[in-house]
């Protein structure tokens, strides 16, 4: 959640959160949308929110296109996050251009796992030995594989893949503008979705999403913008106030984080990646005559 990031990252960056209306989570600021007719809506997760980044791609695209924009990047969000929030859906439908970051397949309620309503990156077991237990998605999938077995894990992955496509199709119906899917990942399209044997049980972001899934959803879109950055360098994190390196993952709250990684972002899109996304999005919009 934006407020969670603001609290934990306050020494590094001020996200300047603002609130669209009561009941809607804090959005990444500064606010650049004041009810205009011709605007861009960005939907996505932490990458779109721009965690650890002073000038996220949303702001860059807004600036370069000269259009008002709204950043609906929500930590851990899957498609159902937006579907369950009518005020957000209404904004998405009103946008002239909708840049939809391809969201994680792990943040989908299906099979034996259900997403937490506020944070889709937290999953609850609905049945079996771990019934009612809630945990972060990666741990949940790891537990599922270990406790419920390989077959249950594979069935779960299949279930969320089907559900992901269904949810996306629902989400992308009824918009008045053009929607582009933005693939923001360290892995090429179709090369992150498969479960990695012996490695992470969810693979790389956007976890579990295959080329076929993307193609199914893309039928309802203006296009897919490939923003893959395969060799993303780690981002060194600095305090905005002191200029010194800053441990974003402190020992008290993140005891299991390796000490050598506490002041490095090795997961979220880095400033370099944001620049790449912005340039690809702008290029696409210009070529398609949208701006």
């Amino acid at each position: 959640m934006g407020i969670g990031y603001q609290a934990s990252d306050r020494d590094m960056i001020d996200y300047d959160l603002w609130f669209l209306q009561r009941g809607v989570p804090g959005l990444r600021g500064p606010r650049q949308y004041f009810g205009e007719n011709d605007f861009i809506a960005f939907t996505g997760a932490a990458q779109t929110f721009g965690r650890f980044v002073h000038d996220p791609f949303t702001a860059q695209v807004g600036r370069l296109s000269g259009k008002p924009y709204i950043n609906l990047g929500i930590s851990g969000a899957g498609p159902e996050y937006f579907l369950k929030r009518p005020p957000l859906l209404e904004i998405i439908c009103e946008a002239n251009i909708h840049i939809a970051q391809v969201l994680s397949g792990r943040s989908v309620s299906a099979g034996v796992l259900e997403c937490n309503r506020s944070n889709n990156g937290v999953l609850k077991f609905l049945e079996g030995p771990c019934k009612d237990q809630e945990m972060l998605a990666e741990k949940a999938y790891s537990t599922l594989r270990k406790v419920y077995g390989e077959q249950a894990y594979e069935e779960q992955v299949e279930a969320v893949r089907e559900k992901w496509v269904e949810l996306y199709k629902t989400m992308l119906v009824g918009g008045k503008g053009s929607t582009y899917l933005a693939w923001v990942s360290e892995g090429n399209i179709g090369e992150v979705g498969e479960c990695i044997e012996g490695g992470s049980p969810v693979g790389k972001f956007p976890h579990f999403v295959t080329r076929k899934m993307l193609e199914q959803v893309a039928e309802n879109c203006a296009g897919v913008i490939d923003c893959t950055l395969e060799s993303m360098r780690p981002q060194v994190l600095y305090s905005d106030t002191s200029g010194e390196m800053h441990e974003a993952w402190d020992r008290q709250n993140y005891p299991n984080r390796p000490d050598n990684l506490r002041a490095f972002n090795v997961y979220y899109a880095t400033p370099e990646h944001h620049e790449l996304v912005a340039s690809r999005v702008i290029r696409t919009l210009i070529v398609d005559g949208r701006i």
Partner: protein
């Protein structure tokens, strides 16, 4: 050469030189008083310190913070050198000049000790580097083009290059590392053949590979923005294990 500027007072390795007496003064005023320097509004104090002792760097960082707290302008210059040349230079100095005969042969064991100390010291300074006005330079670039490199560094103060800074032979012994003042002038020793031999003799260890990476970063420093070089150093000496 930096200290040859008419407006610069030099302080050479106060913590390294004072380590036997546990010298740890980090109040800028007290340090200057201890070293008989009178800080003045229109003058600059340049402190040179060595990174191969981590505590030197911790104390230096605290000193810089203290000076800034007093309202003084502070800056940091990180001089990177080929770690293999630096090691050979230490072996030479340890054998011939220093009182501590700790690193007298270019063995794997001594190299590991040197590399670990160098990484720890660099990690400490790199952690804080971007809190200062900072420049990172390569020692070889400095030796091959002193006029431009000096002018670039002086811009950090800011000061204008003075002609006498380029006349090395006038440099007087100011304390600190004796090997820097052993002759009538400062000349960079060509160690390329020795380095090649050393690289052939050293075992292929993670530390050696890390030092090779450090050498690469050092060689690229002149063509990179300081912030990029610092980020690369942070990745190498803090993140990679």
């Amino acid at each position: 050469m930096l200290t040859d500027h008419s407006l610069v007072d030099a302080l050479m390795e106060p913590y390294q030189a004072g380590r036997m007496n546990s010298y740890r003064e980090t109040s800028f005023e007290s340090l200057c008083r201890d070293k008989n320097i009178e800080p003045k509004q229109d003058r600059f104090v340049l402190i040179k310190e060595t990174t191969t002792r981590t505590e030197n760097m911790s104390l230096l960082v605290r000193l810089l913070k203290d000076a800034r707290g007093l309202g003084d302008y502070t800056g940091l210059i990180i001089v990177l050198r080929s770690p293999f040349e630096a090691f050979l230079s230490q072996v030479h100095a340890s054998s011939n000049m220093w009182l501590d005969k700790l690193m007298t042969s270019p063995s794997n064991k001594h190299f590991e000790t040197f590399a670990k100390l160098a990484i720890a010291g660099l990690a400490e300074i790199v952690w804080h580097a971007r809190s200062q006005h900072c420049r990172v330079i390569n020692y070889n670039d400095f030796c091959s083009d002193p006029e431009n490199e000096l002018a670039r560094l002086l811009g950090l103060f800011p000061l204008r290059l003075e002609q006498q800074q380029l006349e090395l032979s006038k440099t007087a012994h100011r304390g600190g590392d004796p090997k820097a003042y052993s002759g009538a002038s400062i000349e960079k020793t060509d160690r390329s053949a020795e380095v090649e031999e050393l690289l052939g003799n050293l075992s292929d260890t993670p530390l050696k590979r890390k030092m090779l990476e450090l050498q690469q970063i050092s060689e690229g420093a002149a063509s990179m923005a300081t912030t990029q070089t610092i980020d690369q150093l942070a990745e190498l000496v803090i993140m990679k294990q």
